[in-house]
């Protein structure tokens, strides 16, 4: 009788805890806002999304278990219901169980976590290299194989609107704070190596759809890579506090099909030759 009571209450509490979990982890997405990590457009971002979801689910299950036991106890074992306190103060068996099981869960988690990390850190076999330099508060991109380089700053429409008391509603600006004058143009389906550094303070180059961020540190050249699977425009921004305009140095990556990228490269080189000639003429 008493045991049945416990089971019924525990099931009711379990239902309530699951409902609460749904309310905080699923319901907010019904507002149409993005609430989860992006799956992105690279192998790495997919790896990291899967890893994130595996660990999230393990955490959710552990949390639901712990809170169900705890709230069952809170419902049943209260003085106002006349429950008499038990006297036990330890149980070696129970303590062994809840030490060893978490260790096993960690081992299970460590396997995919290690695989993904090893894969992310392997930048061998890159087909082209782009050097990224962070400045206060813009990015410089140098295509080392194509001899193209340019500086990328916050788009002027956002820059005007973002001033204190500008009177311009952020919603009225296209891609407010997420747009630049010169986006980084990259080909899809090619393994691209990035060399990342900075010229003044530490910055961090982050485009969520690519699946990682990497610090740009003066005096260091960090290495990272990507292989974008889908053409499109992907936006990110500096992720390491770098001074007053840290919030205003976005990153835009435009991924083009291989042939479109090649024509973009020739356009750039042609433009460059033209402007070089102009300089010579002057």
């Amino acid at each position: 009788m008493k045991k049945e009571n416990t089971i019924i209450v525990a099931l009711a509490v379990l239902a309530a805890v699951i409902a609460a979990t749904w309310l905080i982890l699923v319901a907010p997405s019904l507002t149409g806002n993005e609430i989860n990590m992006t799956k992105g457009v690279t192998q790495q971002s997919a790896d990291h999304f899967d890893l994130h979801m595996i660990v999230l689910w393990i955490c959710v299950v552990i949390g639901i278990g712990v809170f169900t036991v705890m709230f069952t106890s809170i419902v049943l074992h209260r003085k106002s219901r006349g429950h008499k306190a038990a006297k036990f103060s330890h149980s070696t068996k129970a303590e062994m169980i809840w030490t060893i099981i978490p260790v096993l869960i960690l081992v299970v988690m460590a396997v995919p976590a290690t695989t993904a990390l090893v894969r992310m850190e392997d930048s061998s076999g890159a087909e082209m290299t782009v050097k990224i330099t962070g400045f206060q508060w813009r990015w410089k991109y140098e295509y080392l194989d194509q001899d193209i380089s340019f500086i990328s700053s916050l788009a002027s429409s956002s820059n005007t609107a973002r001033q204190l008391d500008s009177g311009i509603a952020p919603e009225s600006v296209d891609n407010y704070l997420r747009d630049v004058d010169h986006p980084l143009v990259l080909p899809v389906g090619r393994k691209i190596r990035f060399l990342i550094t900075a010229d003044d303070v530490i910055h961090s180059w982050w485009v969520p759809a690519l699946g990682w961020k990497r610090d740009a540190i003066p005096g260091f050249v960090n290495e990272a890579w990507t292989n974008i699977e889908k053409p499109g425009t992907y936006r990110g921004q500096c992720a390491e506090l770098c001074g007053k305009d840290h919030g205003f140095m976005p990153i835009v990556v435009i991924a083009l099909a291989e042939d479109e990228f090649e024509s973009w490269v020739s356009e750039q080189l042609a433009g460059k030759t033209q402007s070089d000639q102009q300089v010579t003429v002057r």
Partner: protein
């Protein structure tokens, strides 16, 4: 208890215990020159509550600017000064001194000692703090402005701070001196002044967690002092410790800082574990489950805290092997932390629970700290951290362990021991209102920040793209409501100390355990002049 609980008028008798309630009469004598652990404890607690309000006001400015996209209230540089100062004030001015305040009040009473081992140093370690924080806050009014590089003070950015930077460094030095002296005092007290029979494994959990915390403090505060001193000389004396152009290494600062910084987070949370381990048995009317494993788990967490620091800097570009080591070590911390949570649940299981305000805050702590712990486990996964790092997901994580974690435990401790300290009961009705409003709004404030971080919002930005607008507004509303709720807390404390007509009994709570509950409420100014005899571990005793 025996004679020390009996009050004597100073003029009335020459009995050996006649100084039991003798207080200095002048205001300065009582508070400025005090060497009494209870008065110094009160000073620490009042100071930290003041800092909590100042740091909270800064948080209100931050949340107000982030209420909507676009800049409405402050310039970005001032916004950065606010985030930096908010963190420095809350970490060093609110949470740490609050725990030292409770340690001052409670450690002597819990181990049956008449006072702290080093009472004059105790006075000094407190009175340094108001000067340190006045100096720190004064930088906001200087021409060059306050520090704006984040509380982590990463060079080279922090070296762009103007001349006010010297004041920041000196303030950090003074806080460090205060913390180190406070810890030495606590260690000396616990090792030398325990009552007969108070063996180490009979000590209350709060004493145990503080003993371990004190060792962490002594180990890492000098490291922080060294790091900021190198910043100081880099800034003003042309050294190149962290300047790459001069052969220095900016990443080395991060290693040194986080070697301090990670134990620091346990400095803020271990005493909270102690408090919750005291409160749950009281209101469950049942012994603490697994006292021994609680002590060992605390020590294990403290040890591990020294070998996980680089998980704060996975994205700086470390070798793969180092990333793997720090990932595995960090994941391991969840094992002793899990043991603690399971032991707390087992303490409540089959108890005879009542839900006075301290118990509510302790239960709130267990639930919400667990959520913060689980998001911490997610952050430990290095590859995924390349997405989480430096986003609002991290902000949500550490606020979950610090606000409904450390701060809720401080609230629980206040409601639990304030009747002992003041001799009056607080208003249970208002305490419960305070709890429920806090518990609701802290989640409205911080839970949406998980979504923001996962959706791609970096931390420490004053303005954001409209795609993040909805949850920032929700978070800000939660923030304003949570902030306003804390004014209720100030009112409750004031009322309990000066206005409450309901007197507290010595035991205060039906199920309270431990030596402090054998003293009067309030205890005599000098308690345990004669040490009590201790015959068992009060926390694990079955009765």
């Amino acid at each position: 208890m025996t004679t020390e609980a009996i009050h004597h008028d100073v003029n009335e008798t020459h009995d050996a215990h006649d100084h039991g309630d003798h207080k200095p009469t002048g205001f300065l004598d009582r508070w400025l020159f005090t060497t009494n652990h209870k008065d110094i404890g009160t000073l620490y607690l009042v100071f930290s509550l003041t800092m909590f309000m100042i740091g909270g006001a800064m948080a209100m400015i931050i949340r107000a600017e982030l209420f909507m996209p676009g800049l409405q209230l402050v310039e970005p540089d001032f916004f950065n000064q606010m985030t930096t100062m908010h963190a420095l004030i809350m970490v060093f001015g609110a949470v740490m001194p609050a725990w030292v305040g409770f340690a001052n009040w409670l450690v002597p009473m819990m181990i049956g000692a008449p006072d702290m081992a080093l009472p004059r140093m105790n006075n000094w370690s407190f009175w340094i703090l108001p000067f340190a924080f006045t100096m720190l806050l004064s930088t906001l009014f200087m021409d060059s402005g306050g520090p704006a590089a984040g509380w982590t003070l990463y060079p080279p950015l922090v070296l762009q701070t103007g001349t006010s930077f010297a004041f920041v460094v000196f303030a950090v030095h003074m806080m460090g001196v205060s913390s180190i002296m406070g810890s030495i005092n606590i260690i000396a007290t616990i090792f030398n002044m325990r009552a007969p029979g108070m063996r180490l494994l009979r000590m209350p959990m709060f004493v145990w967690t503080w003993l371990i915390t004190a060792f962490l403090l002594i180990a890492v505060m000098p490291v922080l002092a060294g790091a900021v001193t190198m910043l100081l000389t880099d800034h003003f004396f042309s050294t190149n410790f962290f300047n790459a152009a001069g052969g220095g290494d900016p990443v080395m600062f991060q290693h040194i800082f986080w070697f301090f910084g990670h134990p620091e987070v346990y400095i803020m949370i271990l005493p909270a574990f102690g408090v919750v381990s005291e409160i749950l048995p009281t209101f469950s009317r049942k012994p603490l489950f697994g006292y021994g494993s609680m002590v060992y788990a605390t020590a294990t967490i403290a040890f591990l805290s020294f070998i996980v620091w680089a998980h704060h800097m996975f994205t700086v570009g470390m070798p793969l092997q180092a990333e793997l080591f720090f990932m595995y070590a960090t994941m391991l911390i969840s094992v002793p932390t899990g043991v603690k949570v399971f032991n707390w649940v087992a303490t409540m299981w089959q108890g005879s629970m009542t839900f006075e305000t301290p118990m509510l805050f302790a239960i709130g702590f267990v639930v919400l700290f667990t959520i913060g712990g689980l998001s911490g486990l997610m952050l430990a996964i290095t590859a995924a951290d390349f997405q989480y790092h430096d986003t609002y997901f991290v902000v949500a994580h550490f606020h979950y362990v610090l606000v409904p974690g450390a701060v809720f435990a401080l609230m629980a401790a206040t409601y639990y021991w304030l009747p002992k300290f003041t001799g009056n009961m607080y208003s249970e009705k208002w305490g419960k209102i305070h709890f429920w409003l806090s518990a609701i709004f802290v989640n409205v404030l911080f839970f949406p920040q998980h979504y923001l971080g996962l959706a791609g919002m970096p931390r420490r930005i004053p303005d954001y793209s409209p795609q993040f607008a909805d949850f920032n507004m929700v978070s800000s509303i939660g923030g304003f409501a949570f902030g306003a709720t804390q004014l209720i807390f100030v009112g409750i404390v004031w009322h309990c100390a000066f206005r409450s007509k309901v007197k507290a009994t010595p035991k205060v709570w039906e199920g309270s355990r431990g030596l402090e509950w054998t003293l009067d409420s309030p205890p005599a100014y000098h308690s345990f002049n004669t040490p009590p005899e201790v015959t068992c571990n009060a926390l694990s005793r079955a009765d």
